[in-house]
Symmetry: C2
Subunit: 352 residues, 2 copies
């Protein structure tokens, strides 16, 4: 069985065989893998500094205007909501559960409520104190699950440490899970030939953007950088359903730039400003930057401007199209929440 | 926004933008992607013919002995089952539902029942006629869901066309879904930090084999060829949890061999004999062949010997280790069914 000179790697590993064969067997925790966080380490460059551009470098990329696309979507949703009102006298309803006083969470909630208001989706909000019990939170969710006026429920994340996030997500009825985070919806998203009741908003927005831009996905090489449960994972699952040839890059990937440089479409969900440099990208690629990172910049009016994962200045000199941050995928993602809530109401009212 | 000469691809696609922007928006069926089957087309070579070997070619690969690994696992399970009997006087129970008279299905069922018998897992089998109604089948599953002597339920696939396979899979209690095909278990497998009640047997066997062989998965480049719901998909999800840098190759992938040639670990689940040639593989790679293909061979005693997806003769001259077919991952997969049934009984009896 053994011979040749190409077995070094396997031979080294093979030492583990005897010791592993008794201890590892049938251990589900081992089989499910180590539950590490993703320790991304930005390359040595200062995250704000971009590479020196050569004088002859010019921007060649189309900058995708997420705002104008999101306005198209908004008016289509508003139109459908008013048709529903006119025809059956009912409106979709979204319930938001907020725990604690995180400033960023309250900003996100305000944006979502405003977006609902713009299209005629009714909203309910329940604010719980930072120190609320899990039981209190579960009761609020259960109340919304039973409420026939509520077609979508979102529990604004992150939750305080003392609350079991997964347990709370599981408690949202899959029929009202407009965030698409319930494992039943995630499983049906993963399994081709099945239809989840809801697709997570950022992932749905990503595909919506590609389809509206006329980008062919089938057979294309796609690199998804990052694998968060709310963005990277569902986006990878959805792109697979579109028959992309998918590579997933994460904090444990060696030479990530080698993989992303071969991709026709790059989706980034890392959460580190400028980690994706121009030399990570293939000329002519289509880049969707899902990162939303606040960086300290005393020169900025707000002090903490938002930036994406992709080094925008460098990327625009290489790729054919890119979503900016802000003003790219963000506004579209918000509209996907409205779209999910509308879909849910249509199902509840059996409205075509 | 436009300039440079690298926009051809995007420009061509961009024509679609205006026409798409009205018709595609908010169409969930479009967003979920076209539900194509995987039309693998074997390369022009005769699937039985292998490339001419040079005289100096020698086999360098370790041939993984799946039978002997499965015997280790079997004896460990048998040991745990007898401990359970001795300590609480109870045994795990597996129920099998069979529909129709497919010869291959009956062979698989016989193998599973025999494997249960060998370790002391009790079995129940319900055989329904080919023309049974969905209602009859759902009743049988529901009976097993309620039966406290049953800890695992498998509905042998494939089912006759007139039965809704997904509906039947959904009807199996997630607590007894030892095949791991229920979307709730699949969703919890996909979502890191969560634990599915069951991991699909072939995928669990694949990781069990890698762990027992002392193969490092974290950060390794892994190519999974094929994406079936019962093998390729869950194996990809599980390998991701082990922090592999994963690429998924399927029938729509261009130059699949270019991707697989870069992988340290290759898992194949295509269902086409010899589709993975020696030149698809990286020297020193670890190859797990999940294919089980019957090929016509008049010279064989049985007429239809079983072969895998990987051109074994060529692969053994390139890679460091490979699972043969038969005698590779198959026997391990069967034992994973026993392992899942035992785990389920332990949960039911709160047995440590």
């Amino acid at each position: 069985m053994w011979g040749g000179g190409r077995l070094v790697w396997y031979r080294v590993k093979r030492k583990g065989l005897s010791c592993c064969s008794t201890s590892i067997a049938l251990n589900n925790a081992m089989i499910l893998g180590p539950n590490h966080p993703d320790p991304w380490i930005p390359s040595t460059m200062d995250i704000l500094q971009t590479a020196n551009s050569r004088a002859d470098d010019v921007q060649i990329a189309a900058i995708i205007d997420g705002k104008s696309i999101s306005q198209d979507i908004r008016s289509q949703i508003a139109d459908q909501v008013s048709k529903m009102k006119a025809s059956i006298g009912k409106s979709p309803g979204l319930a938001v559960v907020s725990v604690g006083k995180r400033r960023d969470s309250h900003t996100f909630i305000r944006i979502k409520l405003k977006a609902c208001d713009e299209v005629g989706i009714a909203t309910l909000i329940e604010e719980l104190p930072e120190n609320c019990t899990e039981h209190q939170l579960l009761n609020v969710v259960s109340g919304f699950n039973e409420n026939p006026l509520v077609h979508g429920i979102i529990v604004q994340l992150p939750l305080p440490q003392h609350l079991d996030k997964e347990k709370i997500i599981d408690s949202v009825s899959p029929e009202k899970d407009v965030d698409g985070f319930h494992p039943l919806n995630m499983g049906n998203l993963a399994m081709r030939g099945r239809e989840p009741l809801f697709i997570p908003c950022a992932s749905k927005g990503c595909i919506e953007l590609l389809l509206r831009s006329g980008v062919e996905i089938m057979g294309k090489k796609v690199a998804v950088i990052g694998r968060s449960k709310i963005v990277g994972l569902p986006t990878s699952l959805l792109l697979q359903r579109h028959h992309a040839t998918l590579s997933t890059v994460h904090a444990f990937s060696k030479n990530p730039e080698k993989i992303t440089r071969e991709a026709d479409i790059v989706v980034s969900d890392v959460g580190i400003p400028n980690i994706v440099r121009g030399n990570w990208l293939k000329p002519g690629a289509f880049v969707i930057d899902m990162g939303t990172n606040r960086i300290k910049d005393p020169s900025s009016r707000h002090g903490y401007p938002v930036t994406g994962d992709v080094c925008f200045e460098e990327a625009t000199k290489v790729v054919s199209a890119i979503t900016p941050v802000p003003g790219g995928i963000g506004p579209i993602t918000i509209r996907m929440l409205l779209s999910n809530t509308l879909d849910s109401a249509k199902r509840a009212f059996r409205f075509p």
